[in-house]
């Protein structure tokens, strides 16, 4: 059987049914826009000069918020409506099915990440940015955040439960991953926690790509993100088989 047909159609269905819905598109635009404005209002004197400095944080945040909640909510929603059973009953491997489900969220995350960059292009000079490195960083962050969302979805029974769990992970990451406050400026006892969070490594690559201020080796950052993704993927597969095939 051609598993690609099933993979492609699950991905297409998710994009059409969930990711291209007006509330999600507006969320993807309004969220980074409001954060950008907030930063400008906070330090108006810095203006355009600071826009570039803010970009890694805004892009990372868009990825994080776009991916974790979307997949967790859509999967929990499908589970509750029992349409997810249709995927479990289809003759495609659970690995292929999970890959199809996460692909949509990863794509959504990548698109959301580049919206702040698009906005920034109107107010500041974005030359000198290593776009290749930026894309790799956004892609890896998007994969890890999506898998984190999936891990949450597998552990939740209801949509509101999934939302609560995802906030529990997202908000600490917002402050501890070096998005807006450099890790070195954090209290010493919080710094080890920062290095346990996947977003820290994604932000580090983005910092290097956009402002050339990363603190770790880019390859190391990539390896950590790939490692976390593999671990999360295996955990999700194991948990789906254990929890959803009763």
């Amino acid at each position: 059987m051609n598993a690609w047909i099933a993979y492609w159609n699950i991905l297409k269905k998710d994009i059409r049914n969930y990711y291209l819905k007006p509330p999600n598109i507006s969320w993807g635009i309004i969220f980074p826009l409001s954060w950008t404005l907030m930063q400008f209002i906070r330090t108006p004197q810095a203006g355009a000069a600071e826009a570039k400095q803010l970009l890694p944080g805004l892009m990372s945040m868009s990825v994080l918020f776009g991916t974790t909640s979307m997949l967790a909510v859509t999967i929990t929603f499908e589970r509750r409506g029992r349409s997810f059973d249709r995927l479990l009953l289809a003759p495609i491997s659970i690995t292929a099915m999970v890959l199809a489900k996460i692909s949509g969220a990863v794509l959504f995350g990548v698109v959301m990440a580049f919206l702040p960059a698009l906005l920034a292009a109107f107010i500041t000079d974005l030359s000198g940015i290593s776009w290749g490195m930026g894309i790799i960083s956004v892609l890896l962050m998007s994969i890890t955040s999506t898998l984190l969302g999936l891990a949450i979805a597998v552990s939740s029974k209801e949509v509101f439960e999934a939302q609560t769990y995802s906030n529990f992970f997202r908000f600490p990451m917002l402050f501890l991953s070096g998005l807006f406050i450099p890790i070195d400026n954090l209290p010493v006892f919080l710094q080890p926690i920062s290095y346990c969070l996947p977003l820290t490594y994604g932000v580090d690559i983005l910092n290097k790509a956009i402002t050339n201020t990363g603190i770790m080796n880019v390859w190391f950052d990539c390896l950590v993100l790939i490692g976390i993704s593999i671990l999360l993927f295996c955990f999700c597969l194991w948990n789906i088989k254990k929890k959803w095939i009763l």
Partner: protein, 346 residues
Amino acid sequence: MLKIIPSKQNLPAKDRKTKNRERFIMSIISVTGLKKAYGEIIAVDGISIDIEKGQIFGLLGPNGAGKTTTINMLTGLARPTAGKIFVDGIDGIKNIKKVQRIIGIVPDESNLYDEMDGFDNLCFCASLYGIKKAEREKRANKLLEIFGLKNTGKRPFRAYSKGMRRKLTIAAGIIHHPEILFLDEPTTGIDVESARQIRSLILDMKRQGTTVFLTTHYIEEAERLCDTVAFIVDGKIIKKGTIDELMENEGNEHILKLTLEGSVNGIISDLQLNFPNFRIKPGGNNSCFISSVERPSLLPILQYLDKKGISVYEAREIRPSLEDVFVKVTGIEAAELKREKEGVRK
């Protein structure tokens, strides 16, 4: 026909192998000692079923008897605690994905996508089986036509009526042309006309060679559709066989229904005194039932009533129905079964 398989322990190893092979060749679904426990609760308790290719098999039982759990184990939505499943010779526990290629599943509640229209839902379901675009669109159109949904094909699934939802869910279950179709309560909670259409479609599928595994609480539906049935109560199969076998073995009483011109009050006890070999019960609307293991002779009864000046309006033999057999075997009233299920739906 359901086969009685001799205990494997009594056969030499070589014969056992041959017996197993024969059994798998004969039966498209073969289940042995299937058990499912959720902690201390045993949902299915060591059931064994053999279903021949091209048959309609009905699993009948009250709520919580283990019907859906059995289907879930056969289709890969639940992992058995013990037992063996073979579907068309494929190990249904080790190779469930292979099994899923040849089966279609229609769950008790429609599980299509509310936000997608009927046509897209069917095309999506076909894509899960690797069917290419042109072919799946052709099949979706054909099924919409067969199920009388052609005009509503572009309407979102959420806007469908209950009967339409059921029909589209069945269409989605057969779009990949499965060899075996699992139908969980296919006509529950839908209008009479849609239920009739669905029953006729099930018979059509049988004529085309599809094996159908059906669960229902409508006993008359099982009687009308199924070749073989099994009664399941508290996770155990308490009776199985063809409809005729069950009627012959369990419905071994002959029953006469007498309808009198006047009231039966006072006559019942009189008849019972004079015909002690028969069991006589009132039947409502001036009627009574006369039953016995041997066929009751009508003449002496009619003569007796005539002597008493009582006119008989109608006398006829009542053939026991599957419902009678079910009530006798399980002790569960069929009406109670129906009420119970529909109560849950509401």
